[in-house]
C-alpha cells in the first residue's frame, strides 16, 4: 500500500503546543522560522537550531516520525552542503585531490544547513500539533487570501482520493501482469496511467464543482470557526517572537 502524507498524525497528543491557539501558533512560529533563516551568524543560527529541537521535544511528536520525513530532505540539504564547501571561493584549508575546501565555504555551508534544518524541524511543532483542517481554518481566520486557503483545503481533502485512485489503477495494471521495469514499454504504460489519473481528476473536479454550486458556492469559501484565544496564548506567542527578535539583536551586536 502507498503511504498517505500525514503530517498531522500526532495532532491528538497533548502538549503545551497542542493547546496553543492555532492562529497565535502560526504567527509565532512563522516569525521564528523567518527570523532563523535570515540569521547571518553561525553561532546564533546554532542557538536557533537548539531552540527548534527544544520546541520539537516540547510538542511530544515522536522523533522517529520527524526523522522519517527529514531523511529525504536531509539528503538534499547535505548534498547542497557538500557542493558549497568545495566550490565557495576563499582561503583553502584542506584538499582532496583536485577539490579544495575553503574556510568560507565551510562556514556558509554550515550556516545554510543549520538554518534549513531549524526551519524544517520547526514545521512539525507548528502544524504537526493540530489537525490540518484546523491549520486551514486558522489561515482562513488570519485573512490569508481565499484562493490559497481553498487550494490547501482541496489538496488536503483530495490528495487521499487521488492516491486511492492511482492505487486502483496501479492494482489493475499489476493484476494484469504489469511489472515495473526500466524499459520503454513500462515507461509508456506509466505515462498512460498518469494520463488516466489526470483525466479522472479533471472529471472529478468538474463534479465537485457542480456539487459545490448545488450548495450555494459563489467563489469564496465560508465556514464557521470557533477559536478561543487566551492570555497564555498571547504570552507564549510573545515569548517565541521575542526569542526570534533577540536572535537578530544577538548577531547584530555580536554578544555571542
Amino acid at each position: 500500500m502507498i503511504e498517505y502524507p500525514e503530517i498531522d498524525r500526532y495532532a491528538s497528543l497533548d502538549s503545551p503546543l497542542h493547546r496553543f491557539d492555532p492562529r497565535a501558533k502560526l504567527i509565532a512560529f512563522l516569525s521564528l522560522i523567518f527570523s532563523i533563516v535570515l540569521v547571518p551568524d553561525l553561532k546564533v543560527a546554532f542557538i536557533g537550531l537548539l531552540f527548534a529541537v527544544f520546541m520539537l521535544i516540547l510538542s511530544r511528536i515522536p522523533l522517529t516520525f520527524v526523522f522519517h520525513y527529514l531523511e529525504w530532505v536531509a539528503i538534499f540539504i547535505l548534498s547542497f552542503f557538500v557542493i558549497l564547501i568545495f566550490t565557495f571561493p576563499g582561503e583553502e584549508i584542506a584538499r582532496f585531490y583536485l577539490l579544495s575546501i575553503t574556510a568560507e565555504g565551510l562556514y556558509t555551508g554550515s550556516l545554510i544547513t543549520v538554518r534549513a534544518f531549524s526551519a524544517l524541524i520547526l514545521i512539525f511543532p507548528m502544524i504537526g500539533t493540530m489537525r490540518f483542517d484546523t491549520t486551514i481554518k486558522a489561515l482562513y481566520r488570519l485573512r490569508v487570501p481565499g484562493s490559497l486557503v481553498q487550494m490547501l483545503m482541496f489538496t488536503y481533502r483530495y490528495i487521499f482520493v487521488l492516491m486511492d485512485e492511482f492505487q486502483s489503477i496501479w492494482t489493475a495494471m499489476e493484476s494484469r501482469g504489469f511489472q515495473l521495469r526500466s524499459n520503454f514499454y513500462a515507461l509508456s504504460t506509466i505515462g498512460k496511467a498518469l494520463g488516466m489519473l489526470f483525466v479522472r481528476s479533471y472529471e472529478r473536479a468538474e463534479r465537485v464543482y457542480q456539487a459545490m454550486c448545488s450548495r450555494g458556492y459563489t467563489g469564496n469559501p465560508r465556514t464557521l470557526v470557533e477559536f478561543d484565544i487566551r492570555m497564555k496564548d498571547y504570552l507564549l506567542a510573545v515569548s517565541i517572537m521575542g526569542f526570534a527578535v533577540s536572535l537578530h539583536i544577538a548577531s547584530f551586536t555580536g554578544v555571542i
Partner: protein, 302 residues
C-alpha cells in the same frame, strides 16, 4: 395537489455530441415520491443535474413550483431543490463533516446558531451524531453516503433529489438509507425524486416510476411498470425477485391477481389468500411450459 417539478420538452447534448436527453416530459407533485429508472447511460444523472439548474439546456423548460429555472438565480433554486450526488467523494469536499454540513446553510446566509442547530439535527437524523470532526476520507462508504445526504438535509430543501442513493451499499446500510428517505417524505412532507437501477428499492421508494432511456419511455405505478415485460426487456430493467417467484407460483396454481413487489407485500398476500381459501399447489400439464415461458421472459438478465 400542486406540481413541484415540471419538465417540458427537455433536451440536452453534451459538448462532445452525446445526446443525453431528448424531449423529456415529466411531472412531480408535491409530497410525492418519484423514481426515475433506466439503464446505465440513460441520462438519469444528466436529468437530475437539470432539476437544480446545474445544467441549463436551451432546449425545453424546467419549472420548480411553477417558476421557470431560467429566470431564477442559483441561490433561489437550491433553497427548494437539494441534490445528492451519486459519488459521496464528490459531494463531501470540506475537510471535516461539520464543515461539510455547515457549507450549505452558511451559503444560504443563515445565522451561526441556526447553522449549528441544523448540522446537529441532520447528523442525528442520519445516525451520525458525534461525527462532527471526522474527516470524510476516514469514513466508510456507507457513512459517506449518509453524510452526503445529511449535507443536503441541513439545507432543508422542499424537494430532495437523489442520484443512486442505494448503489454499492451493504444490505443493512441500504435498508437504513431507504428508511430514512421514506421517513423524510412521510414526516416532513419532502418531495422525493430518486434515480436508480436498484429495482428492488423501487417498490419501497416510489409512488410513481418514470422509465428513462434518453426519452421518457413509460410512466406508471411500480406495479404497472413491472407488469410490462417487453418494456423492461427493451430497457434492460430487472424485476424484483419476489415478483418473479410469485409469477412462478402462479404456474403451480397459486391464485394471485396482483403480484407482490416486496417481501412485505408478499407476506400480506400470502396471509390473505391462505385465510380466504384453501391453497393447493400442483403440477398440471402446462406448468412446465409456463415456467419456461416466464424464465425466458427474464432471460435477458442472464
Amino acid at each position: 395537489m400542486s406540481v413541484a417539478i415540471s419538465v417540458q420538452n427537455l433536451g440536452y447534448v453534451y459538448s462532445d455530441g452525446t445526446v443525453a436527453l431528448e424531449d423529456v416530459n415529466m411531472e412531480v407533485y408535491e409530497g410525492e415520491r418519484v423514481v426515475i429508472a433506466g439503464p446505465n447511460g440513460a441520462g438519469k444523472t444528466t436529468l437530475l443535474l437539470h432539476l437544480n439548474g446545474i445544467l441549463r439546456s436551451t432546449e425545453g423548460e424546467v419549472e420548480v413550483f411553477g417558476r421557470s429555472l431560467k429566470r431564477l438565480r442559483r441561490e433561489e433554486i437550491i433553497r427548494d431543490v437539494g441534490l445528492v450526488f451519486q459519488d459521496p467523494d464528490d459531494q463531501l469536499f470540506m475537510p471535516t463533516l461539520f464543515d461539510d454540513l455547515a457549507f450549505g446553510p452558511v451559503n444560504l446566509g443563515l445565522k451561526e446558531e441556526e447553522v449549528r442547530k441544523r448540522v446537529k439535527e441532520a447528523l442525528s437524523i442520519l445516525g451520525l451524531s458525534g461525527y462532527e470532526n471526522r474527516c470524510p476520507h476516514h469514513l466508510s462508504y456507507g457513512e459517506k453516503k449518509k453524510a452526503s445526504l445529511a449535507a443536503i438535509i441541513s439545507m432543508e430543501p422542499k424537494i430532495l433529489v437523489l442520484d443512486e442513493p442505494t448503489a454499492n451499499l451493504d444490505p443493512r446500510s441500504r435498508a437504513e438509507l431507504i428508511e430514512i428517505i421514506k421517513e423524510l417524505n412521510e414526516r416532513e412532507g419532502i418531495t422525493i425524486v430518486v434515480a436508480t437501477h436498484d429495482i428492488n428499492a423501487v417498490p419501497e421508494l416510489a409512488d410513481r416510476v418514470y422509465v428513462l432511456n434518453r426519452r421518457i419511455i413509460a410512466e406508471g405505478t411500480p406495479g404497472e411498470i413491472f407488469n410490462d415485460a417487453a418494456l423492461l426487456r427493451d430497457n434492460n430493467l430487472e424485476v424484483p425477485e419476489v415478483y418473479k417467484l410469485f409469477e412462478v407460483l402462479r404456474c403451480f396454481g397459486y391464485p394471485c391477481e396482483e403480484l407482490p413487489l416486496s417481501i412485505d407485500d408478499a407476506v400480506a398476500e400470502l396471509t390473505r389468500t391462505i385465510n380466504e381459501r384453501h391453497i393447493h399447489l400442483h403440477i398440471h400439464e402446462h406448468t412446465h411450459e409456463d415456467v419456461n415461458r416466464i424464465r425466458s421472459k427474464y432471460e435477458h438478465h442472464g
